[in-house]
Every structure is written in C-alpha cells, then in structure tokens.
C-alpha cells in the first residue's frame, strides 16, 4: 500500500459535525459580570441637570464661577453625590471580589488572603513590605496617600505595592470595563 493509498483510506474516516448544543451549552456556562443599569445613567442625568441649572444661575449673576454661590452649592452637591455613587459602586465591586474566591499572588507566589475593611477598602499583607490597602474609586486619588498603581480588568486585579507586584485573581469577571486601583501602605 502506497502513502497516497493509505491517506485515501484514512480520509474515509470522517468526524461528525459538532452538535448545536456545543455552542449553546458553552454560552450558557459563560460567567457574566453583573451589569450596571442604574448608577451610570443616573449620574449622567444628574450631571446634565446640575450643569443646566448652574448655567442658568451663571447667566443671571455673571461669569465668575468661584464667586457664584449657586455654582458653589451645586458643585458641592454634585461632588458629594458622585462620591456616594463611586463609593457604592466600589462597595459592589468589593462584594463581588469577596464572593469570587480571590487568590492573592505576590511576585507570582501565593500569599495570604484578602481582608475587607470599611468604605470598600481591601487589605493585603505583602511579605517584607507590610499591609497595603486598596480601593477601586478614583475620588481618593492624591488624598491621604492613595496612589494609582494598578488596574482591575475582568477577573484580575493587579497593582504595585512598594517593590512587589500583587495580582489577585477571582474566579469570575468583576468589572465590564477597566478601572484604576488606588493603593496606600497602612501605617
């Protein structure tokens, strides 16, 4: 039997087509992150409303923003509101992380577990560096020693803690879009 004849014989053994249930079953088993359907549209709506009112106030009292009491009050309310929304979202993210069996790696090696603090804060003990806290809302940026040193993407949170690289892997996606991670060393 020649090589070509053998090939011809082998070609007679055809595999069946995969069943439709293969794709559908896989799709059903795909882990989905919870979708944010409320907070983001509300935040945009409120921002537009505040801007409209502020512009109306400015039109009557002059162009200097800092001296305008209407603007100052609305700006304060807006900041508080956005902060509340961000903190709430960050708390939601923290809860999802907590329920997703997070595994902590420091420089690629398994490290201890996460500790959960108040205000959506999470703590991780980094060998030789101390305990580092991190949050996922941006309003802490530049305040109280919080520095953006990493990102949360899908099911993975990565950030720099001193000279060490921390990677936290969850067993399901936590966010739809990337978010910054703010870190500070606990005193």
């Amino acid at each position: 039997m020649t090589e070509a004849e053998l090939d011809r014989y082998l070609d007679a053994w055809q595999a069946p087509k995969p069943p439709a249930s293969l794709r559908e079953g896989l799709r059903a088993r795909f882990p989905r992150a919870e979708r944010r359907t409320f907070a983001r549209p509300l935040r945009w709506g409120l921002a537009i409303a505040i801007l409209t009112v502020a512009l109306a106030g400015l039109a009557q009292t002059g162009p200097d923003l800092r001296d305008n009491p209407v603007f100052r009050v609305l700006s304060g309310w807006y900041t508080d509101f956005v902060q509340a929304i961000e903190t709430r979202q960050a708390a939601g993210i923290r809860n999802q992380i907590r329920e997703s069996h997070p595994q902590v790696y420091v420089d690629g090696l398994r490290a201890g577990s996460l500790e959960y603090g108040p205000a959506a804060r999470m703590d991780v003990a980094v060998p030789d560096e101390g305990v580092y806290s991190f949050v996922t809302y941006s309003l802490v940026a530049g305040r109280g020693g919080w520095i953006e040193t990493g990102r949360i993407q899908g099911n993975v949170i990565e950030f720099q803690a001193g000279s060490r690289h921390v990677r936290i892997v969850c067993d399901k996606p936590i966010v739809d879009t990337d978010r910054p991670v703010f870190v500070r060393r606990r005193p």
Partner: protein, 181 residues
C-alpha cells in the same frame, strides 16, 4: 493572527461574551474532530471541548498568549482531557466509550470508515494522537511536539510507526475493498 488571538483572550478574560464566542467559532471545529476521534463519543467530545474553552476563564489557567498560540493550547487541553477520560475508562470508573457502537453511529459510518476508525483506535495512545493531529488536522510537527510535550524527532518517529502499523492493518482490508470499488 497571534495578535488578534491575544486581543481576543484579553477580551475573554475581561468577561466579554462576544469575544469568547468568536474564539469558539474560530477554533471549535478541529478541536471537536480531534476530541471525537480520541474518545469515539459525541457526548465526551462535546464535554471536553466545552471544558477546554471554559478553562481559559479559570483563575488557575496557565495559558499565556504571549508564549503559546491559543490553538496549540486548546489542542493540548483537549488531548489532556481526553487522556484523563481514557485513563478513567481503563480503571473501570466509567463505561468505555458508551456510544461508540450505537446502531446510529454504525449506520452512519460505512464499512471502510469503521475499519479505519478501529485500526486507529487500536494504535498506542502516543501514536494515535500524533497521527490524528498530523493527518486529520494537518498540524506542523513542531506544533504537535508542543501540544504533546515531546521532541519533534519523537513525533516524527511515532507518526511513521503509526502509519506503518496502519498500512499493515489496512492492507488485509485493501484488496477486498479494491475488488468492490
């Protein structure tokens, strides 16, 4: 291709279902064929292929798209899952290839296909997987070596031995077949 796969994997790991389905659509056919030929079972092949795609989402997944092509990783995963299943069969944990000889499959396969399938199933596992990847999936020897975790020379010699055995096995069948064609 490598870059687009890398991007797809990144999106998949961010939880994007569309990216996951695109990845599946690009790769599932050869993987299913390979799994089916290794296990001889539609149900097992379906389970194995699903598990392999889902393994990409697991936190302990060691796949790095910068080092390995996703196709190579998935073929390796199918191979490992199939071997695990076959080992369980050998240890008597689950019945061997339950739907291999159903009337349905026997009706679907003609005599020649069945003979070839049986001859390939009778090969040693290491030779069988190399033959399936080389002949049916047309993968280059270097990629087969990566999938099976072997040297290229070992892959080449297993392929030669597999083909020699098949030539011998099928030779007995060939003259009979030639007369009927």
């Amino acid at each position: 291709m490598a870059n687009s796969d890398e991007q797809l994997i990144r999106d998949v790991r961010r939880g994007k279902e569309q990216a996951f389905l695109r990845l599946f659509d690009q790769h599932h056919l050869p993987l299913f064929r390979f799994a089916w030929r290794l296990t001889g079972s539609m149900a097992d092949a379906e389970d194995i292929v699903q598990e392999c795609f889902l393994s990409l989402l697991r936190p302990d997944c060691g796949f790095d798209p910068k080092r390995t092509a996703v196709r190579t990783y998935l073929f390796g995963a199918v191979r490992n899952q199939s071997l695990k299943g076959l080992r369980r069969c050998e240890q008597g944990e689950i019945p061997d290839r339950a739907d291999r000889h159903t009337p349905e499959t026997e009706a679907l396969q003609n005599e020649m296909a069945e003979t070839v399938g049986k001859a390939i199933a009778a090969l040693p596992a290491a030779q069988r997987e190399v033959l399936l990847l080389a002949h049916y999936e047309q993968l280059p020897l270097a990629e087969i070596a990566e999938i099976t975790g072997s040297e290229i020379t070992a892959v080449k010699s297993r392929l030669q031995r597999a083909r020699a055995t098949l030539r011998e096995t099928l030779a007995a069948y060939a003259p009979r077949r030639e007369r009927t064609i």
